[in-house]
């Protein structure tokens, strides 16, 4: 028996909203399977389970907001199947009273009342969820008005009375004046997702020249169009208020690294090719291990180094905004794996479905604005981290080699670091380590 609890998906997360279960009672799960979708103030995240076994009771209903650490489901690690209708333990912060079926006869007051909450088991709720049925509209034929599995199975799945929508979708709809009942949800059971609201409130996120005009003034409300923007605003304000930043910059000759990468890519199918960003990230991760003074957190007026390197990668989102998910163990991951992980990370970040393991706090973040064509970026540190590495575009520049002027591909690497935790000499060691590592690309 193991508990599946609301995970902490970032240092600043206190609570999360369960958006949907991707498993039901009786389903077999393996460690690492994505079992639920949780929404935080910043984004929607797919949460993996950390145990293998059979899903027992689901203790929290979709749409419920619970604190981090709350038991959300029970996973039976034994081989025996769960009881057909497991009695759920009372949810810690239930939105509405949940009555275990075994107590129904002793609690006659809890029968179904019109418009009130229906009495049902998790299995039945899961079925209803899958079919998109609002249980409060179902007449229970079981004892004490209990809704049985067959009641749900015989209810037509169309026309739910209550609009099913994720909390983020509701918030977006409110701020942009969208009528949820007029929308068609693309989520499970027809649930309206944030993307569905964005699609009608902003039109398709077209990325042609025209759409690069200043963001549409969304009916001049003070509330940001994207709640994620408010989270970013709070974070960077805190960073600039609390962290005394210092900045370093160096230009790195990439002739060797780019020639090595070109050679390597020439003999490989597209799926196995590398991009310069993969080499740069790997060298930053290795450098972070060599300069542990910059890899970790500032906590309680002191620096706490991290034994592992979780490299945050700042990913810009289509339509605006930014997330910095983490590549775990980027320093020990072979380059091809890091490349594959990077591709998956960026695509999941942009589709708004990061995995919980990717939202674990990074120990050092990299922002790569090279693709946007700028030469250098001096960033804002993500608290409680103490450094941020910025990478500009890989560009041809004149360089002196053996007293002769020539032209090589180069990149400008910068460091923004927390002066409370380190001094310039330490920061300089990180940048020179990155340079040194990139001169031996075959060892990355």
């Amino acid at each position: 028996m193991a508990d599946f609890t609301m995970p902490s998906l970032g240092a600043d997360m206190d609570e999360g909203t369960l958006v949907e279960w991707l498993v039901g009672p009786g389903d077999a799960v393996t460690k690492g399977d994505v079992v639920a979708v949780v929404e935080t103030a910043k984004s929607t995240i797919e949460v993996e389970c950390f145990d293998s076994g059979t899903v027992g009771a689901l203790l929290v209903e979709p749409g419920t907001t619970v604190p981090v650490g709350t038991r959300m489901a029970v996973i039976d690690s034994g081989a025996e199947p769960p009881a057909p209708a497991p009695a759920p333990a009372p949810a810690p912060a239930p939105a509405k009273p949940t009555v275990p079926t075994s107590e129904l006869q002793a609690a006659p007051g809890h029968t179904t009342t019109p418009g009130g909450d229906a009495v049902s088991t998790p299995l039945v709720r899961h079925l209803a969820e899958q079919k998109g049925i609002d249980l409060s509209s179902v007449h229970g034929s079981g004892k004490g008005g209990r809704i049985t599995r067959s009641d749900v199975e015989h209810t037509p799945a169309e026309g739910p009375h209550r609009v099913k929508a994720s909390p983020l979708a509701r918030r977006l709809a409110r701020s942009s004046g969208v009528d949820l009942s007029a929308l068609r949800g693309t989520g499970r059971g027809g649930t309206i997702r944030a993307d569905d609201v964005r699609a009608v409130s902003a039109g398709p996120p077209s990325r042609t020249v025209e759409s690069r005009e200043p963001a549409r003034p969304s009916s001049a409300t003070a509330e940001p169009a994207y709640p994620a923007r408010a989270a970013i605003a709070a974070l960077v304000s805190r960073a600039n208020r609390e962290i005394p930043h210092y900045y370093l910059s160096t230009t790195i000759d990439l002739a060797v690294a780019m020639a090595w990468m070109r050679d390597r890519n020439a003999s490989r199918p597209v799926a196995e090719r590398l991009v310069p960003a993969a080499l740069l990230l790997k060298s930053v991760a290795l450098a972070a291990r060599q300069v542990p003074e910059l890899n970790g957190y500032w906590k309680d007026e002191a620096f706490v180094p991290s034994p592992a390197v979780r490299l945050g990668v700042a990913v810009s989102l289509r339509g605006g905004g930014l997330v910095a998910p983490a590549l775990a163990d980027a320093d020990t991951m072979p380059l091809p794996e890091l490349m594959a992980a990077l591709k998956g990370l960026v695509s999941r970040a942009r589709s708004g479905r990061l995995r919980a393991s990717e939202t674990a706090d990074p120990t050092l973040t990299v922002t790569n604005l090279g693709d946007q064509g700028v030469e250098a970026v001096f960033g804002v540190i993500y608290p409680p981290q103490v450094a941020l590495v910025g990478l500009g575009c890989v560009t041809e520049r004149p360089v002196a080699v053996d007293g002769m002027l020539t032209v090589h591909p180069t990149v400008t690497a910068t460091l923004a670091a927390d002066h409370r935790a380190s001094d310039g000499t330490t920061g300089a060691r990180l940048l020179t380590a990155i340079d040194r590592l990139l001169q031996r690309p075959e060892e990355l």
């Binding site: 996120p205 990325r207 042609t208 070109r262 020439a266 597209v270 289509r318 693709d371």
Partner: protein
């Protein structure tokens, strides 16, 4: 594959890689990497999908020819046999 078929396929791949991309608004000789704000991973995804759909190897040295709709269409049409 003729040039028109190639163009349809290329736009299709672009729309897959860049959700919401308005390929109809792209000028044929315009660098779509810039216009659609594609980063190097987006472009690699495009090359990967194009390679899958056409069966072409698309070596890295040919990437500069694959920045525009015209360039891509010419490249694909000239290298795939007419069926």
């Amino acid at each position: 594959m003729n040039r028109d078929e190639a163009l349809v396929l290329i736009k299709d791949v672009l729309t897959d890689v860049v959700p919401g991309a308005d390929t109809a608004a792209l000028a044929p000789d315009e660098n779509f990497r810039d216009n659609l704000e594609m980063d190097s991973l987006d472009f690699l995804n495009f090359i990967e999908a194009l390679s899958e759909r056409t069966g072409l190897a698309l070596p890295e040295s040919d990437y500069p020819a694959l920045n525009t709709l015209d360039g891509c269409a010419d490249y694909v049409a000239s290298r795939t046999s007419v069926k």
